[in-house]
């Protein structure tokens, strides 16, 4: 094969308090399909953002050589002009414009600002043929399914004369049929000399289309494996992906586990917009009193969707399933109902779903249980401040006073405020979604201690996490999810990172049948 089309050498990128990439190397040979693998947070997306100019030259260290020439992209436009096009997992199409308009958006066939519809439509039709999409260029994007939209994105990339196509989780939202077509297309483009970087959690797909795979872990390149004609075993990839160090101390605890407190049976949720898509498919799980149970799964496995749907149907469209507390079925159709039954959900996205950033700590903590500091509808500000102050002390929230705005706090302290809010509501069941995402090591350890204490008080705790060591360090039992289904249930004693990862990447082919 020819020389490399792309070389990224010793790329390092830091965010305040976190080193996202450290001396990462990635070499893509001309005309090859190169897979990039790694757990959530391994640095895959950051690396692609560096490559495509989302993080401009100067905001990272290291160098990028494209077709042998050093590149210093200042924005996405610059990288696209060189022929590097990235297609994100969340498609960037304008729903109410036509296919043709989307394909040439920002890249219009025009003369002095006036669009030539003739050239636009004929060129679009040609590109659609190339990607094998039999639709009129004048169809609105909103009228196409996700699979076809993905093809439009690729046509759009072709219109930009793409030389290196980057696909971020291209099949995550597709059913099997559409996935197969897309992978075929990638191979076809390869035959035409277009190189491709594909980020995917689906190891069987990687084994099928990739010529080489680079594995990232904790912002570092672990290895690059060339895939020969004999293929690669999924276990071989998994071995590289896992094995993160157990870098944190987890609290010692002697679990005192009681009867089943919280149970979900056959829970099914459909996508809020694309109702053909089943996001959570017949999930069943239970948590006992005093037990910490984990849910492991990769991006798109449906963990958050399951949790939010159970918590007052805050996500998607419910289409079956029951919630039981202490063996009795309860209704959790609205958030107030779920809270009344003693269920709490601590979001993974504290800035959007957890906090009112323009308000202070005390008012954020009291919000979900204002009635506890109020009498006859009047909030007792004195009592409220006292409560907040006691949380500030016990949770070690680093802020001058409880009247500090939460928007000014660090991630770890914001997370402690959100946790305080839900502990104040005195739930029996706590669902913690990525409770330590994006916070520093010290704060993580504190939060682990809080979680252990909650379990010791007899609460049922469900922890969703992308960090396997965290789940192994914290939980008594771990469920795994993949493609909306529970694919396994493992006691801590029997669990290893490898065994979990195998369950997490298990393909459940029947789950996405087209309706």
């Amino acid at each position: 094969m020819a020389g490399p089309v792309l070389e990224m050498r010793s790329i390092s990128k830091s965010f305040p308090g976190v080193k996202a990439l450290s001396e990462v190397n990635l070499t893509v040979a001309a005309g090859e399909v190169h897979a990039v693998c790694g757990e959530n947070g391994a640095g895959k997306s950051t690396l692609m953002k560096v490559l495509s100019g989302v993080y401009p030259h100067g905001s990272y260290e290291g160098e990028i050589l494209f077709e042998g020439e050093p590149c210093r992209f200042k924005d996405i436009r610059a990288s696209e002009q060189r022929g590097i096009v990235i297609i994100h997992q969340e498609l960037a199409l304008v729903p109410y414009l036509s296919v043709a308009e989307n394909i040439f958006l920002g890249n219009e066939h025009a003369t002095r600002g006036v669009i030539s519809w003739h050239r636009t439509l004929t060129h679009a039709a040609e590109l659609l043929r190339q990607v094998g999409l039999e639709e009129s260029p004048q169809t609105r994007i909103a009228d196409l399914g996700v699979g076809k939209q993905q093809l439009v994105e690729i046509a759009k990339a072709l219109a930009k004369k793409v030389k290196l196509l980057i696909l971020d989780e291209p099949t995550a939202a597709l059913n099997d049929e559409d996935s197969r077509k897309l992978l075929d297309l990638i191979l076809e483009l390869k035959a035409q000399g277009i190189s491709c970087i594909i980020i995917s959690h689906k190891l069987n797909e990687i084994a099928r289309v990739a010529d080489a795979v680079t594995i990232l872990r904790d912002g570092q390149t672990i290895e690059t494996i060339a895939i020969g004609p004999e293929g690669i075993s999924e276990d071989r990839i998994i071995r590289g992906m896992v094995g993160r160090d157990l870098e944190h101390r987890y609290p010692d605890r002697t679990p005192d586990i009681g009867e089943v407190a919280f149970e979900v049976r056959d829970w099914t949720v459909r996508h809020p917009i694309d109702q053909q898509r089943t996001v959570v498919d017949g999930a069943s799980l239970n948590v006992r009193r005093g037990e910490i149970v984990g849910i492991a799964g990769l991006m798109g496995a449906g963990r958050t969707e399951l949790a939010m749907s159970v918590f007052g149907r805050s996500y998607g469209r419910w289409s079956g399933g029951r919630v039981l507390l202490h063996g009795r079925e309860v209704r959790t159709r609205t958030v107030p109902e779920a809270i009344r039954h003693g269920i709490a959900y601590v979001t993974e996205d504290r800035k959007h779903f957890g906090l009112n950033l323009i308000d202070d700590i005390s008012r954020n903590i009291s919000l979900s249980a204002l009635g506890k500091v109020a009498r006859y509808g009047r909030v007792d500000r004195h009592e409220e401040s006292r409560v907040a102050e006691s949380f500030r002390r016990t949770m070690n929230i680093k802020a001058p006073t409880v009247f500090t705005r939460t928007g000014t706090l660090s991630g770890g302290n914001q997370q402690k405020v959100v946790l305080s809010k839900w502990i104040f509501a005195e739930p029996e069941v706590l669902i913690l979604d990525e409770p330590t995402r994006g916070i520093d090591i010290g704060a993580k350890a504190e939060i682990y201690t809080v979680i252990a204490e909650l379990a010791a008080q007899g609460k049922a705790v469900l922890v969703i996490s992308s960090e396997l060591p965290e789940l192994l360090g914290l939980c008594d039992r771990i469920y795994t999810m993949a493609e909306g289904r529970i694919t396994g249930e493992v006691a801590r004693a029997d669990a290893t990172q490898e065994s979990l990862m195998r369950l997490m990447t298990m393909s459940t082919a029947s789950s996405n049948e087209q309706v």
């Binding site: 957890g354 919000l367 909030v379 006073t401």
Partner: protein, 411 residues
């Protein structure tokens, strides 16, 4: 009473403490975070001072003060409701038309059907509540943007007004009804040079205000928070006392307290308390600040938004009644541009276009800034053409200043 809100806020905003604060830094800190409201209070004082000089003292003459209150009462009533709607993250364009509609309905009831005026007023307020609930239903439960729903309401109620009145003005109103806009507190007791009841009322307000100040200071200290140094605190009390005394004497030397001022005072205290201290008030701020987070915390956001619009309907009805009483007629042209004045008042008074921020007192201050500008410019002889230009610039400057400040503070 007005001062208590600022104290409550300064307790929160003066929060960050350092060991040995200088007077300047304490002041700076007390002001920061609430720059807009304090800024507007200062701006209001400056505008008053400016026009007082410009008009050779006419602005603050007892007669003119009374006029000012009676001319702006209905806008201030609307501004209170509008502030709450804006805090919840919405907008209401229909209030001017709704005020006209309710005024017309009241006129028809009282003048054509000879309904007793208190009954007619009550019915009018219920009509306002129903109209507000109608709009709140579309906005909260069907998810239609408030801009659209209330734009439709603006046309709907304006048309309704014209249908009710058939293009004619309906007049006159009974004396009792007129007094809600042009009446005064009755006089009691021995004859003095001043209006006795007004003096008593002023004294009561002064006592309550000072007590609230003291209580607020004690409470702030009990949280372990920094309070104003004693000297500054006493100075603040002196300013409050002076303001209340001067204002009371001004009113008392004319006809006393206008009824509409009593209504406004009650609304200010009531809604100020509601927004500051009640669960529903707190929920309103939470929805405006981050609706998704509020919902996931169990706040029934649809109900809160519905109630905010219903309340706006009642206040629009009240404003419509006050305006009709002042005009002594129900007319098809009533209430034009009231919604814009009310929205401007709310934004000048510290509301944020994205919701979650603002106080009832702020709405009043914003309304007064506009009112004094109107009144002062008219007295000096500035034409309405230039008045509009100036008011537009003031609105832009106030909000621009706020945005600039926030950006500098890095939030």
């Amino acid at each position: 009473m007005a001062q208590t809100e600022i104290i409550a806020d300064s307790a929160r905003n003066g929060a960050e403490s350092d060991p040995s604060p200088s007077v300047g830094s304490v002041l700076a800190r007390a002001l920061r975070g609430n720059v807009r409201q304090y800024g507007m209070l200062v701006a209001l004082a400056l505008i008053v001072l400016l026009f007082q000089i410009w008009t050779d003292g006419i602005l603050l003459q007892p007669l003119n003060i009374t006029n000012l209150i009676q001319q702006n009462g209905y806008i201030l009533i609307l501004a209170i409701g509008m502030m709450i709607v804006i805090i919840a993250g919405h907008i209401d364009l229909s209030v001017g038309s709704l005020a006209a509609f309710v005024g017309a309905a009241a006129a028809v009831m009282m003048v054509e059907h000879h309904m007793p005026w208190p009954v007619a007023m009550l019915v009018a307020l219920v009509i306002g509540a129903l109209a507000g609930a109608w709009q709140g239903f579309w906005i909260a439960y069907l998810g239609i943007p408030s801009f659209i729903v209330t734009l439709a309401g603006m046309l709907l109620f304006r048309g309704g007004t014209q249908i009710l009145l058939q293009g004619q003005s309906v007049a006159p109103f009974p004396k009792g009804f007129q007094s809600i806009s042009s009446g005064f507190l009755p006089e009691v007791g021995p004859h003095t040079d001043y209006h006795n009841l007004t003096l008593l009322l002023g004294l009561a307000v002064l006592v309550v205000a000072v007590l609230q100040e003291l209580r607020g200071r004690r409470q702030t200290a009990s949280y372990g928070l920094e309070v104003l140094p004693l000297g500054l605190f006493l100075a603040k009390l002196a300013v409050i006392t002076a303001a209340v005394v001067v204002f009371t004497l001004l009113l008392a030397s004319y006809h006393g307290v206008p009824i509409v001022l009593l209504i406004l005072g009650a609304l200010l205290v009531g809604f100020g308390y509601l927004m500051r201290n009640s669960i529903i008030g707190r929920h309103t701020y939470a929805i405006g600040g981050n609706e998704a987070a509020a919902k996931l915390s169990g706040v029934k956001s649809k109900r809160v938004v519905f109630l905010a619009f219903t309340n706006m309907g009642v206040l629009a009805a009240l404003a419509g009644l006050v305006f009709a009483a002042r005009l002594n007629a129900g007319t098809p042209q009533a209430g034009i541009n009231f919604e814009l004045e009310a929205i401007a008042a709310a934004f000048i008074g510290g509301a944020s276009a994205s919701g979650g921020v603002g106080t009832v007192l702020g709405a009043i201050i914003g309304g007064l800034v506009l009112g004094v500008l109107n009144n002062g410019m008219s007295l000096v002889g500035v034409g309405t053409d230039y008045q509009q230009v100036i008011k537009g610039l003031v609105l832009l400057a106030a909000v621009g200043f706020d945005v600039y400040n926030k950006r500098r503070a890095g939030s």
